[in-house]
Structures are given as C-alpha cells and as structure tokens.
C-alpha cells in the first residue's frame, strides 16, 4: 500500500515536470500538438475538395479526418516519446525512488491526456461549425482511443527497453515503422472503401482496426464490420508482455550518469 502511494507520488511529480520540459520554454509544443493534426486535416481536406471526393456516407470530411489523424498521432507520439523516455530522463534515475517504468508511465499519462484534449477540441470545434455534435457511442470511442494509446504505449515500452541494448531499434521506429503505418492505417480512407484484396492485407495492421472502431463509435450510420477490438487488444497484451520482460532484463544494464 505504501509502495503504491510512493509510486503515485513519483509519477505525479514526473508528469508535472514533463509538462514543463516536454513543450519547451515557451510552451510552443502545446500549440504544435494542436497544429499538427490541423495541418494534416487541411492538407487531406484540400485533396478531398479538389479531387471532388466525398467522405463515406454520413460523415463530414473534417470529422472523418479528425477521427483518423488524432488517434494515429496519439499512437505515434506515445510510441516515439516512450521509446526515448529513459534515455532523455537518465539523470532522474539517480533518485532511487524514480524507476525507469515511472518515467515511461509519466510520459504515457501526459501524451494520452494531451491527445485527448486535442481530440475533444477538434471534435468540439467541428460540432460548433456544423451546429450539431456527432458522437453515437461515446464509450466505444473512448475504448478505441484507449486502444490506440495502449498500442502506442506498449510498442514504445518495448522499443524503450530495446534501446538500452542498441540504438538501432530507436532509429528504425520512425522511418521503417511509423512512416508506412501512416499510409496503412485508414487515416484518410475507410476500411469499407478498400478493395477486398488490399483490405485483407491491411487488416493485419492493428491501428487500422482501432481507427475504424472509433469511426464506428462516432458516426451513427457507420458500422465497423470488418474489424474487431480483440485483435488490437491482443497486440497490446503481447507487446506489453514483451516490453515488461525486456525492461526487467534491461534494468541491470542501464548505466547511470
């Protein structure tokens, strides 16, 4: 019980500290967290407009893109920020109460909270413009966002532990994993619209499942019938197990200073 209290104290202290260091001296990072999805939405929105394409039936283009890009950025930023968590906070491990997992957990909390706020702001902003709010199944949406966060966090934890052994893993994460996933996760197209051959391949990607589930939760007329929650959840469990096991092994190798 006392251990749990200490743990929460430490994570709380780390979160407060990260809010100051994460976004730079002028807090520009907060603006960027909101600006990045807006830029993507504007870019893809413009493409939709000039190509004369429509979002799937029952969805506005902007909401369609918000429900794609924000969960993806949540996933991606958790994965990349957690991968670097221990390396960039090495100095703090000098306090016996701060353990590597605390640092990882604190970043996860902050990233998740930040992107939840971004999601609410963008969905709320769209609702204001449209004069109506579409949110069919709030709990399903929340579960979807939690899955996106869980995927990013468990992947980030695994890469974080791997980075103690070699920095190759860290360098692979961006170019080899995140960049292709950006195009393969249904951010600016729906699973429904894919030709079935492509769909069968892309459905191996758990992020695609998550984004489609969130859209199923947001839009009343849309049923996410090709995907399920168990598949990404399986990934979360496997990656968490892998990450936690590797962390235990990496702990001893971690050199201070």
């Amino acid at each position: 019980m006392r251990g749990l209290v200490i743990e929460l104290q430490v994570i709380h202290a780390l979160v407060l500290r990260e809010t100051k260091t994460r976004f730079g001296a002028h807090r520009l990072g907060y603006v960027w967290a909101l600006l990045e999805p807006i830029i993507w939405i504007a870019t893809f929105g413009a493409m939709y407009y000039f190509l004369g394409r429509l979002a799937p039936p029952g969805m506005g283009v902007v909401e369609f893109l918000v429900t794609g890009i924000v969960p993806f950025l949540l996933f991606r930023s958790l994965a990349t920020r957690l991968t670097a968590a221990v390396d960039s906070n090495r100095g703090l491990l000098f306090y016996p109460r701060v353990r590597p997992l605390d640092v990882v957990a604190a970043r996860a909390v902050l990233e998740f909270a930040t992107h939840m706020v971004v999601f609410v702001l963008l969905m709320g902003g769209t609702a204001l413009v449209n004069g109506r709010l579409t949110l069919d199944q709030p709990l399903e949406v929340l579960a979807g966002l939690a899955l996106a966060g869980g995927l990013g966090a468990s992947l980030g934890l695994s890469f974080c532990a791997a980075s103690v052994y070699s920095n190759v893993a860290e360098r692979l994460l961006g170019p080899v994993l995140m960049r292709p996933l950006f195009w393969m996760s249904g951010i600016f197209y729906s699973v429904e619209a894919l030709p079935s051959a492509a769909r069968n391949v892309l459905l191996y990607n758990p992020v695609l499942h998550v984004i489609d589930l969130i859209r199923g939760g947001v839009f009343p007329g849309y049923e996410a019938r090709h995907v399920n929650a168990w598949y990404p959840l399986g990934w979360v469990l496997v990656l968490s197990f892998l990450g936690l096991t590797m962390e235990r092994a990496a702990r001893r190798r971690l050199q201070l200073t």
Partner: protein
C-alpha cells in the same frame, strides 16, 4: 539502519570480471556516522549506489530501515532546462514532502542568490553541488549517503554542512565515502575500509587508517 547481506557486484571488463563487492556482509548502525575508505576504483561509489537502490546488485541484498537519501555529492539528477526552484519542487514531490518548505530551506541553505530562479544549466559545478546538498538537507533523511563531500563548495560551505550533520546527529546518520582520511576523520566516528571486494569494519577511524596505510 542499513544491512548488507552477501552483497555482490561485478563489472565486465576486457580481461574478465572486475569483482567490486564479493559477498559483503555489513551492518551500519543507526545514528552513527560511518566512513567508507577506499582507493580510487575500489568500488566506493558503486557501494553507495547499491545502498541507495539506484543500482541493483548481482546477488545478495540491501536491507534499509528509515528513509535513505540518494547518493549526494556529484550533482546528477537536475534538469538543466528547469530552474533551481523547479528542480527543488520536483524532488520534494518525489519524496512526498511539502514543496514550499523544501524550496524555502534549499534557497536559504544553498546561498546561490538569484541563480535559484534560473535554469540549472547556467550554474557552475560548485553551485550545482550546493543546490544538491541543500536539497538533500531540506528532506529529512534517516540515512544520508554522501559521495566525496570534498567536491561540495568552498571551506565555508563545507563547515556549514558539517554543522548541519552535527545538528541532526540524534536522528540521522551519515555514510560517507571518500579516499581521503582527513575528510572521514572530520565527519565520522566509525570507519570501514573497502579493499579487494571486501568491506572491513573498524570501531575507530584510526584503526582503519593503520590498515589503509599498510
């Protein structure tokens, strides 16, 4: 109180393993200042890190009773982009003590003036050490682990530290690591000698000194 049970730590080197601690058993009594004497590279810092818990032993265990400090002395653990005050608040929160109180005490004790409100990256190494030391004093530890106190500040500041340790002698103890006999003599009543992976315990600093010189 600190107890070491068959504590073992070795580091891989090019020519096999360097055994820094070889199944060390020891007991550090409460309210007693104990010095750990050893040559450079004997493993003194490793011992302190193991006692504090920032490093894990290869075998054996460390039993701790009461609140044990982080290894004080070399001044890691600060975020360069945060001010002295922000760093102090962070440490206070980790240990679950009142942040305002810690900030007040640390500001007073460190005597670094307006630098307290500036990013730590602008500090000289002496100022960092002062802040680190002040901060550890601001939190009531039962055991203070001090690594090479000689590096902390000038003579006047060191005198202040010594007085502060003296003042809290009835509630906390110090485990002080140094290669300098003079330093240990001025702080400690008991002394251990770390040599060839073993830790020898002496009731007086002088007995340890004889062995150290031998």
């Amino acid at each position: 109180m600190i107890e070491l049970r068959e504590l073992t730590k070795a580091y891989p080197t090019r020519s096999g393993f360097n055994v820094v601690l070889d199944a060390v058993d020891a007991w550090f009594p409460p309210r007693t200042n104990v010095g750990v004497l050893g040559r450079n590279g004997a493993g003194k810092s490793t011992l302190v890190r193991l006692i504090s818990g920032v490093e894990q032993p290869d075998a054996g265990r460390v039993l701790r009773q009461g609140r044990v400090s982080w290894p004080i002395g070399f001044s890691g653990g600060f975020s360069g982009s945060l001010t002295g005050e922000e760093n102090s608040r962070f440490v206070a929160r980790i240990y679950g003590v009142d942040a305002d109180e810690v900030v007040g005490f640390a500001m007073d004790f460190a005597e670094i003036g307006e630098y307290f409100q500036m990013p730590v990256r602008t500090y000289s190494s002496g100022m960092r050490a002062r802040l680190a030391f002040a901060l550890s004093m601001a939190i009531d530890f039962d055991v203070y682990l001090v690594d090479e106190i000689t590096s902390v500040g000038d003579a006047k500041f060191q005198q202040k530290c010594r007085a502060e340790f003296e003042a809290r002698r009835d509630r906390s103890s110090v485990i002080l690591v140094s290669h300098s006999l003079a330093t240990i003599r001025s702080y400690c009543t008991h002394c251990t000698l770390l040599k060839d992976g073993r830790l020898l315990y002496f009731d007086s600093v002088e007995r340890a000194a004889e062995e150290y010189d031998a």
